[in-house]
Every structure is written in C-alpha cells, then in structure tokens.
Symmetry: C2
Subunit: 435 residues, 2 copies
C-alpha cells in the first residue's frame, strides 16, 4: 500500500565531487585577516605557524568549485549522502499548512556534521606531513570528529575540551578516547595560558576562546604539530557545503523548493554548509530563498554583537578577523548548547549577514529545549542542544505559516543528535534549566 514519501535518499555516486566556495560569488569582497602586531593583511607565513600550507592556501582560495580529494570522498561514503526527511508528524502536531524538511547530519559516526571538515583537514595535514593535531572542543562534537578523522589517517590527536562540558557530558570524552585521542579539560595545567586562567579563577568553566588559546599554544610548543579548527574559518565553511549541495538534489526528489532554510549558528559552519549553496541559487539563479541563522540569546554574536576586527581566541594568538563579535574576552553563560558558546561569528557568515544575504534570530534555551522535546516525540530523533536551535527556528516558521494561513516549505539542518547530551535533557525535564 502507498505511504507518504518522507525519506529521500541518494546513492553513494551522488556524494558531491566539489565543495562550493561562496567567496567567488560575494557581491563585495571580504576583508582579509590581519596580523595582530602589524595590523597588515596576514601573510601565508603568518598562518603556517599553526596550519599546514595546503590548508592556508585553501583558506585564501577564491575558486568557485574546489575538487574534493578521492580519499576524502571515500571516507564521506561511510555516512554520506545523508538522508533528507519530511517531518509529517511534526507538521500535524503544529497544525500547520507548512511542509517541514530536515537534513539529518547526525548520521555520521561522530553524530554531527563536523566530520565533513575533520576528514578533509586530517587528509590535508597528512599530505603535509603533520604527525600530531591539536584542537579545542565545546560539547565534544568537534573533538570527537577530529579524533575519528585523525584515527583514519594515522595522526595523533590532542583535544582541549571546555571544562563545563568535559564534566557534564563524560561520554564524549570516552568517545574521543575510543578513537585514540587524548583529552584535557580546559583551562588545563598543560599550557601556560591554561595555568594563568586557573590562577585567576580556579573555578573557571572554560570557554571556546580559552580552549582555542590552549590548543594553539600546544601546537606551537610541540614538534610536528599543527592546529585544527572546527568552525569559523573559510575552509571549514567550504568543506561543509556538501550538506547544501545534497539538499538541493534531495528537495528536487521531493518535488519542492524551500522558501526558508534554517540552521543554528555558533561559529557558523553547519549554517554555512546548508545555506551557502542556496545563497548561490539566490545570487546566480534569481531565487528568493530566505536563509535563517538561529543563535542562543545568551551568546548572540550576530544579533547582539558588533562587526569589527577581533581575535578568534582569548589569549590573542590568532590573526584578527572581521566578524560579528561579543568581544574575545567574553565568557558565555554555561548553557547546554556547548557548541554555540563562541564569542565570534565566521567571517564568511558575518559578511553574508552584513550584505543582507541572510537573516538571524536568537532564542533562550528553555524555548529551544521545548522545541527539541516536541520534535523528539514526533519524529523520534533526539536533537543535539545546538541543533535544537534550528528546530525552534523551523517550528516558529511553521507556526507563522499557520497563523498566516499560507503554505510554506521549510528546510532545516538537523546538524547532530543529542544521544550523548542526555544530561541536558535531564536538566530540562527536571525543571533545572536556567533561561
């Protein structure tokens, strides 16, 4: 008997062969990163202290389509193409005429979209002769993804995890260990900067900014070590564009086109991944698809920050980047969406926002978990606290469609599952969630 088609799959042969680079299509050029000392545009040499040259070149490359190496696509095939689904039970529960679709990036072994760039970065580092990679992680989605990718290419992996989540969500650390990584709670005693923060505040919950500083210090003080960042930078946004490219094909299978595409933003990578290929459709094909970034109101760089040059880390070790920022000394409240606790926004996403190519909205975490619970009870999948911001945004778009009595096609990125974040759901269910 016929059932409604809600699950749209693509064969392995449809894994994109190229990443899409929005830099080639921006109506105005981006501002370059600056050397923190000279305030002049950062040179290749400035960047290769912490990144391998091939990645720095890609970071600056304005080519529209960049070929995905075969070795990377072979690993993508472990979980890609990911499914696109239509949330018919959620539509019914919301009594909305809207159609709600979601791209499920939680299907990767690490449970989020992060391996899309982790695998690429580990590959390029392997090519460049890197033996060891250092990084930071908030909730652990990024750290576990890099741990997985490093294991696949035989690179040692060291992760500085923001202390509040290290303690609150112990399963993520164990997952990183299973894939062979070493994990330190940050601020740690393993770096000078970590010791300095601890001396000033022994109870510091940590932040992504602090953890980045520790990971960079670890990189520059260890032999054959490079640093890897899971969001913010241009090459990270680039690698994530496999998401949106697959969505365009899958929405065609569904016979619809989105009116609005929604994703959460912390550093900006999963939003970039789903949104940038649609921005291209707007710019090049005259489409009018809205792109909506959803951020936490307690760490709302787009809607409450200012656009200016700022450091990517707390210790002022990175180049200055032109971005929406709350200030690099900002320590966000201990919200459950650890992956969104970052003071700045990706320069590419910031530029798109400045140019009016995208919209942004912010929510408090109670409204976010309320949406996550309803989604889980309708559609099964338990969303990660970060991705739950996108769920909230998509649901509110669907509710607006009901109120306006209009059909609307909504697509959102379910960037990860929350199976390793159950303590956050516990806080919500037991009424202990701070707003």
């Amino acid at each position: 008997m016929a059932i409604t088609t809600t699950h749209f799959t693509l064969p392995q042969s449809e894994i994109p062969t190229h990443w899409y680079n929005l830099m080639a299509d921006f109506p105005q050029p981006m501002q370059p990163p600056l050397h923190p000392g000279t305030k002049k545009p950062a040179s290749l040499e400035d960047m290769t202290a912490i990144f391998p040259e091939n990645i720095v070149r890609q970071e600056m490359d304005p080519t529209r389509e960049i070929e995905i190496p075969e070795e990377v696509r072979q690993i993508y095939a472990l979980w890609r193409p990911t499914a696109l689904l239509r949330a018919i039970r959620l539509e019914k529960a919301l009594q909305t005429p809207a159609h709600i679709y979601y791209k499920y990036e939680g299907a990767s072994p690490a449970g989020s979209h992060k391996p899309n760039t982790a695998v690429a970065q580990a590959y390029y580092n392997k090519q460049a002769g890197t033996k060891r990679l250092s990084t930071e992680t908030g909730a652990g989605q990024w750290g576990s993804s890099l741990a997985l990718a490093c294991r696949m290419f035989g690179i040692e992996c060291v992760v500085y995890q923001v202390k509040v989540t290290y303690n609150h969500k112990p399963y993520r650390k164990l997952l990183m260990n299973t894939w062979g990584a070493t994990v330190f709670p940050s601020p740690s005693e393993h770096t000078k900067f970590g010791k300095k923060v601890l001396a000033e505040d022994p109870d510091s919950p940590g932040s992504l900014g602090i953890a980045i500083s520790e990971a960079i210090e670890d990189c520059v003080t260890h032999p054959n070590t490079k640093y890897s960042l899971g969001s913010v930078l241009n090459h990270v946004c680039l690698h994530q564009t496999v998401i949106g490219q697959e969505c365009i094909k899958q929405m065609a299978l569904a016979g619809e086109e989105p009116d609005v595409v929604v994703a959460c933003v912390g550093g900006g990578s999963n939003f970039a991944g789903i949104a940038f290929p649609y921005i291209q459709q707007n710019l090049k094909k005259g489409k009018k698809i809205r792109l909506l970034a959803v951020e936490p109101s307690s760490c709302a760089s787009l809607t409450k920050g200012e656009l200016r040059y700022d450091f990517g880390d707390t210790a002022e070790m990175t180049p200055l980047m032109m971005m929406y920022t709350l200030g690099h000394k900002f320590v966000p409240p201990k919200i459950h969406a650890g992956g969104l606790r970052y003071h700045g926004m990706s320069p590419m996403v910031s530029h798109a926002y400045k140019l009016g190519l995208i919209e942004a909205v912010a929510y408090g975490q109670k409204k976010v978990f309320e949406a996550a619970m309803q989604f889980a009870q309708c559609e099964g999948i338990v969303p990660a606290p970060e991705s739950s911001h996108a769920v909230r945004g998509a649901m509110d778009e669907a509710i607006k469609a009901r109120e306006e009595g209009k059909k609307r096609v909504i697509l959102f990125n379910l960037s990860g599952h929350g199976l390793m974040d159950m303590p956050s759901y516990d806080s919500y269910m037991s009424g202990n969630l701070a707003e």
Copy 2:
C-alpha cells in the same frame, strides 16, 4: 573521480511490504507453548491475559508472508531502509581476502533494530484498545524503542530496567523519559515479585528474567494494560525480517552474495531478522549460506544450554516454551552486553538450531570489546556491546579466510551503536573488564 562503492542505499519505496514467516518453511513443525499448570498447548485465552488478541493470533499464524500495516511502514520510513556498508578499512587492517559487509540497524532513532518490532507491537495494541504497555529492558535498547513507539501511538509506557544497567548507563533511562516513558530499576518495590527478590537479596543486580516477571505482574494488576516483549517470541522474530529482506536486495546491488551471515543472539530477534530470509533462500532456492549466531560465553544458551520446555521468566508466569535454556532461575554475570543476559533462546531460533539450519559460537567479553575497538577505529561507528559479538564473529570468519587463502563474503548485522554504552568502553580501555 571514482571511489570504491561501500555504501548501498535503497529508496523508501523498497521498504518491505511483508514480513517473512519462517514458520511456513520449517522442515519440521515447532513444538507449541504449554500452559504451565495443565501442560497442555497454551490457548488463545491463556495468552490474551497479557497480550492483545491480534498479536496472539499473529504469534500463532503460520502464513509465509504477512502484510505490514501502512501505519507501521510510514513510521519505518523515519529510518528505513537502513544502509548496507562494506568495511573496506577493516578488511585492509585484517589483511584478509574476505569482503566484509554490515547492515547498520543503529540508524533508528533509538539506535538499534528494536523499533522494527516496537512500532508493530504498539500499532497492534493501539488497534486493540490498549492504553498502557508494560515491558522489561536490559541495556535499554528495547525499553527506549518501545517508549518511542508508544509515544507515536499515544500509549502510556512503563519499563522495568535491569538494575545493573539502570545504574551503569543512565543515559538510556533519560532517553526513555524524553519519549515519555516511566522507568523503574528492577528488582523494584513496585511489584510483589520485585519485593520478594529484594527481600532475599537486597543487592540483586537484577536479570531479564526478573524484570519480565515484574512487567507481567504490572500488566495483570493494572487496568487497560498489556505486556510487550522485545525478543524471543515468534511475532518479534517476524517483525525483524525487514532486515534480511533489505539485505538481500542490497547485496544484489553490491553484486555479491554472502557465504556467511553473522549476528549476535540474546533472545534471538536481531539474528532472526537478518538470518530467516536467508534460511528461506537455503530451503527454497538451494543456496548454501551459513548462518552464524554469536552469543556471550557467560550466558550461552545455544552452545551451553539444553533444549527443553522452560519458563520465559523467573517467577514462572509465562507459558512454557521449547527452547535452549540455561534454566529460568539462572542469573547471568554482570557483563556489559546487557541485552544478551537472558537465560533462554527464541523458540524459532532454537528450532532452527536443532534442525541444523544455523550454527552458533560463544565469546568472552574481552575478545568482543577488542573487536569492537578495532571496528570503531577502522569504520567509525562504535558498536553496541551486544552487536560487538557479531563484529567479533565476522572478524574471525575474515581471519579464517586469510589463513585459508580464500575469498569469502561475510555479512553481519550491526544491530546497534554503542554511543549510550560508553561506560562499557571505559571499563575496557581502563583494563577493568572482567572476562
């Protein structure tokens, strides 16, 4: 550029329309369940005290193909068809000429194959007017699956979870709560039988047999309540056959046919799911595909138990079933594969074993976790401790192929992921795993 095809997907339209019933093809008939008092074959009325009539009729139905209701297939479409993958990195690590394929049932929202039957059972109960379902769970894979299914059909769900796992793996309980279920650690104070067990041994770790007794007592002492079992019974094996049916289509896409199909066995349901459609191929099409059941050596009903009538639960409340059993009073050691800690084996799987249609092997948990770690490091996905038994079995088949210098096509069922079982991996990695 061309990469090796390792990921075999089917569109939603290929979700099977029927379940396959091996009962129709057994060369000799099965022995019926017996009433524990009269020792005569259990009647419909004997069974409807705890199950709805439509499920009891299905339990006894010898029809070869049973149509899957549309409402059930619509929910299956949330995660089905699941992917079939080829483990090329594991093959390389083992230096084997064998091809290793795995069916990934961990893609369901609950993370295992269990929703295949949970959704069907919740549907039939809804049809029969059931308002509340009671059940037991070991590691929590089954309890969370029934919680999910009940939520989809608006049925209240009460779960008795074996105490050792309730305490050791708290995320599973939280997942059940997220989907609206109530969870008690078993033995509990909520039933007479639970109280009796606690009076005799306040530190009892619990067992599936005890938890089943509590769930059945809960069922018969509450209004509008039925009981649901996640393994062992004929209708459960039946519902799982969507797995093997999809595999047959996907192996054809891969252009190969398995020489051996491997799955873990506790109560027997995921093994039945992947193996029974292949047994049909052997019986009806003259194929010679080996079917290998892998059990834990500490609870090895097939390889160390005896074939006789025994109770399904500790308190002697179920009908007597003809099965391989370690005795219904057996309390298995506290191994990490909580879902395999059951004294008996599904009557259908037992019958297949007796008739020589399948093989069995048992492993201690250290060798099992060793295999799980290697799989996770090669293929990314962290297997559930239960499913890791199948990984061990498949790897040993691949190693044998290497030793014999023969190509061999191995297919195993990766019945669930281990992301909520990280404390078990912690025990292994820290050297605290008892053999």
